[in-house]
Amino acid sequence: MSAAPKAAPVFAKKPGRVSETQSFLILLGVLMLVPFVTPAGLYGPALSIGSFTLIYLIAAQALNLQVGYTGLLNLGAVAFVGIGGYTAGILLAVPGGHKAAIYDVVALKDGQQCLSVSKDGSVRLWDIASGSQLRAYRVNRKSLKSMALSPDGKLVAAGGEGRRVFVWDFDSGELKNQSEEFQKPITALCFSADSQSLMVGHDDGLVQVLPVSSLSGKKLEGHYMPVRQLLRGSQPGQFYSVAEDRTVRLWDSLAGRQLKEWKNIKNGVRSMALFKDGERAILGLSSREAVLFNLKTSAVEHRYVTHGAAIEHVALSPDESQLLIGSRDKTTSLWTLGEPKLECKLEGHLEAVTAAVFSHSGKKILTCSTDRSVRLFSLKGEQEQILPVSTWALVAFYKRNLPSFSGNSRWMFFFLDPHFLAYMTVTPVAMLAAALMGLAIGVPTLRLRGDYFAIVTLGFAQIFQLIVRNEEWLTGGPSGLKGLPAIFSFAEGPDSIAFFRDTGHYFLGVFFFAITLLVMLRIRDSRMGRAFMAIRDDELAAQSNGIQLSRYKIYSFLISAMLAALAGIVQVSRVKIISPTDLLFWESILYLCCIVFGGLGSIKGAVFGAVLIGSLGEVMRQVLSNYPAVPAQARYIAFAVVLIVVMRYKPEGLFPAADEELERGTRERDRHKDVTPSLFTIGAKHGAA
């Protein structure tokens, strides 16, 4: 094969035609103008599509550098985009507080402090006003599900998946006692009125009464599904239990027997709140409703229906005039009891609400959620405080140290905006992280070629997706990182400038795309670019001409990864969320489609392909969602068919790189011969020779 490195391009511009550089400048200009010519009503959808397309434009160019320029068929490009987005996300919103779902909260000192228990194996005491953590009660390597504070305020007990009950001294935080390992996980805990014994509910329905001193004791059998809550009855020694098996039971802890049972409740009982007279109770059911239940007559006296998912917790205000219902639908509802009326919905949690309680005076409401936050609400439903899920440490740093501007023209000082500066600070770090990952993938795959290389890059991307999905403490797990800052402080919140709310992320996208284009153009016309293409065309020939294969392949990985990370940052600024669904295998394939449509190695082609696949795909998704008759799969089927047809009839793409080279006045080349770069080098045209 005779593919020598190309000679330096000679810019033989034909008269009367725009040069390539000029046409890209025009493109960028048009992109910049889009927000100003879009009618105000269309900002949201149009610019959402716009920045979505920009993500594709950037990612496709980055992949083009590898597949098109260097001939490295990387099937895991999405991992580079993902690591960029995740690094930026983690740095912008540093995870703080509990590291996993919070399951229960107890208000202390009239809502000034609270205790929360989390899956991360800790019970924490918070000062609510300052949002700082006062104390932590910890167990190593055991996740917790339930906790109880003794009535005398001296002990804290908790238990969970670890199948042990732990008891701490409230003031010193010292672990006083722990039980033997039980058969099943612990799902509910409650102290007796004299703080001398502890009632424990298990996942299999078993209820136990344990003296605090020894933590081993009687078994009470009856429930056969998880016990959800235990609470003290009105008589000493009595307590109620509610369970998923659709029953409520009353027990005598002293005699160790069941006193009464209420069966045939419509659904599993998740939570119960007892009136002081002991005659009525509120039951929270797994069927999206809470009911007012008369314990004397076993009749349902009222239904509280408003939630869209199972009820997790119910609580009565101290004067029994109001009711709180926390639901898995992320909201809590506040009701007036006398003449049942929905007062308001407390919104703000990003995931299921697991508990909602009143402070002792009944003037404040505390809710906790699997989203790792505890929130304080007023009785009017206004959110007053969030206990740290994550802190915008960088944003806060810039806010402290820079002048702040106000008024509608404060956007002119965008370069001093704390949000923008935070984004600009994390960008290089995200690029660095992506580069490191590029190195981690590039070095082991140096010796691999063709199909082997493709499958290993795919494997790396899959493993990266698994890491993101499973390392919940860092990446938020399957639901991803949420609540990230917007790109400009004036693009968010009540006093934001409307124009920038919808366009901020778009401008960032255009800016990064411009950088990407510049890098791609400069590389193509440089020594490095020619080395890349020589490797693509014939590794052996390139090597024998003095090109160090491993060095240039690594360069290709590094630069491509860094550019792809930019796409990830645009993604973060666009939706302020990054989650594993952004890292699906098909995304890599769609980026590949972009450059294959356009023509491998062609910058213009990748632009065209990304606009086609990015915007058309997103438009189709938004339009198709209005026609339920057309299945959502139609979009993918269309992509697949186009992909197959293009490969069949125009495998070199719509703007073959070879044409581009001709236009740029490089060496004449036989256009009919070997237009598609033969990626798999030696063996490609000779079968298995």
Binding site: P444, Q462, M647
Partner: protein, 327 residues
């Protein structure tokens, strides 16, 4: 035997069972690759279609009583579906890959990815996206023997072992002793030369697709039975792991594919079984992270991890030969 050993044995046997199935699917990849040098990315989808068709047939004849199906009718339905699936494999080759025989390998690979996307979404259109529970004679999952009184070996496992051995022997005989097999081997060495010697390449490729697809259909059903559910995405997962298995064994090498499958299956099962013994790296950072454990969710990545590690040391795979175009 000690308890620890029995536990190990149980994990290893479970791993062997799934590994064999990965190997059976991998054979389809490796045979096609051996002859036309194409990664048939849609092979996992062929496997998925085998499952779907089996249960469509069973649903057609048994309706709501599918759970009470006997062994014989079940085997017959699986057999019929596997043969149809084999036909589908041939169809896939004719429609998608045949026109691209002389095109670049990238075009063929992208077409295969396109077919995979297409088949998956067509399957959603036809069968819906909801996971379904496979019905089969329940007693197949009951233990036939208990090793050491605790480690069960189910009827299903024994059937899989026996039928795998039989089919591997048959495959060996076909490839080594028949005219078709000779043609296959000739094509895999040099398809142009073989064609010049009078071998009808298209027929050989068709036969390869047929055999691979039938194997994939059988293995797919067994995977669905093991897993207890199946949906349109099952092919993607089986396909990726099986492909890793084929590459691990040395792509183009049939015993290699089976070996790769078994290795991945066993390592996967052992990794999941002993995951609690591996400390989480972040747990050394601070007490805040002491509760962290390595998740069993990494199971799907074990195959690739093994593959990457082995390719570092043997870029041509375990049993692969150092060919010109393979690294």
């Amino acid at each position: 035997m000690s308890e620890k050993l029995l536990e190990f044995l149980e994990f290893a046997i479970n791993g062997l069972n799934t590994g064999i199935l990965y190997g059976l699917v991998a054979i389809g990849y490796t045979m096609v690759y051996g002859i036309i040098k194409l990664i048939n990315f849609a092979h996992g989808e062929v496997c998925m279609l085998g499952i779907m068709m089996t249960y469509t047939l069973i649903g057609l004849f048994y309706g709501s009583e599918a759970a009470a199906i006997g062994l014989l009718p079940f085997v017959i339905f699986v057999g019929v579906a596997a043969v149809i699936d084999g036909g589908l494999g041939i169809g896939l080759d004719i429609v998608a890959y045949k026109p691209l025989r002389n095109a670049s390998r990238l075009s063929a690979l992208i077409t295969a990815i396109g077919m995979s996307l297409l088949l998956q979404n067509l399957a959603v259109l036809i069968w819906g996206a909801q996971p379904a529970t496979p019905s089969f004679p329940e007693w197949l999952n009951e233990p036939m023997v208990l090793i050491g009184g605790t480690v069960p070996i189910s009827y299903m496992a024994v059937i899989i072992w026996v039928s795998t051995i039989i089919s591997m022997v048959m495959l060996y005989l076909v490839v080594m002793k028949t005219k078709l097999g000779t043609a296959m081997r000739a094509c895999s060495q040099n398809s142009t030369a073989a064609a010049l010697m009078g071998v009808q390449l298209d027929k050989v490729v068709g036969a390869t697709f047929f055999i691979g697809s039938v194997f994939a259909a059988f293995a797919g059903i067994a995977v669905a039975m093991n897993k207890g559910s199946y949906d349109y995405q099952i092919g993607l997962y089986i396909g990726l792991v099986a492909f890793a298995a084929a590459v691990l064994g040395g792509i183009g090498n049939i015993p290699g594919a089976m070996l790769g499958g078994v290795i991945i299956g066993v390592v996967e099962s052992l990794a999941v079984g002993y995951v609690d013994y591996i400390p989480h790296p972040a747990s050394f950072l601070s007490a805040d992270y002491a509760h962290l454990k390595i998740s069993t969710g990494y199971k799907e990545g074990v195959g690739f991890l093994v593959l990457i590690v082995i390719l570092l040391f043997r870029p041509q795979g375990l049993l692969g030969s150092k060919g010109g175009d393979r690294a």
